[in-house]
Subunit: 126 residues, 2 copies
DNA sequence: TTTATTGTCTTATGCACCTAAGACAATATC
DNA sequence: GATATTGTCTTAGGTGCATAAGACAATAAA
């Protein structure tokens, strides 16, 4: 997968978030085998301890299942995945509106401006 | 002003952003006198060196003007303030849509979901 | 049974940031 | 002219994170 790391924040939460998004977006399917810590660390260009931390958190989230010597797999619990996806979306929307309001826009203005951007640029650009 | 500091990121950029938002939102008017570093630091509950760093950055942004012994004031350049406000809004919108897409939604879906939230909850709630 | 793989634990090192607090030059204020 | 204010610079110490790399138990694979 593609990594996008920002040195203004700690790395392990970013790894956690990005893997989480990949799972809820269906990039990794429920039940899929998952790369080893060492491989994934190398792929992302981070130390294996850092990736280890992210994986442990994702296990705590219930998204990854660990089998001591046979590696990890994505959870089979599709309801959990959907629930997390919707929670992330909700937080994202609220955060967007909050920030626009802190700039001095109303929520309606914020939504209308976003609408205008999507109409101009199309769905898949950016 | 009200401070909202998060220990998952460095503090000085957060101070910078929050002061910047307060200025573009009109909470501080163009030409207004600005509190001293020491006062503002105490108000925010941070060390004065940390606040100093944020102020220096804001001066670099052109939003604050420093007079060595008489303190600081907000810039008179209303065009600059407006320009920064619009840039922040633009970035915010793009960021919102990017994140929703990374969760597996289309840009249109993202906007519609945001629309639904504002309709339900009203402008000034949260 | 032997070997390799995998997750995990541990110790050590370096770095960036925050805090703390002293000091000083420029200048507004009295 | 004396004093206080203000921004700024400096040194010191503590903390959390990332890196690096060795080690080990459990177990899959040969």
């Amino acid at each position: 997968m593609e990594w996008n790391l920002d040195d203004s924040r700690s790395i392990w939460p970013q790894l956690r978030e990005q893997i989480m998004r990949a799972i809820v977006a269906g990039e990794y399917k429920p039940g899929d085998a998952f790369p080893t810590v060492r491989d994934l660390a190398q792929d992302a260009g981070v130390n294996r301890n850092t990736m280890q931390r992210a994986m442990a958190e994702l296990e705590g989230d219930g998204l990854l299942i660990t089998n001591r010597t046979s590696g990890r797999k994505v959870t089979d619990d599709q309801k959990l995945i959907l629930k997390i996806k919707e929670e992330l979306a909700q937080k994202n929307i609220e955060n967007f509106i909050d920030e626009m309001q802190s700039l001095g826009y109303t929520a309606e203005e914020a939504v209308k401006m976003a609408e205008r951007v999507t109409e101009k640029k199309g769905v898949n650009d950016k």
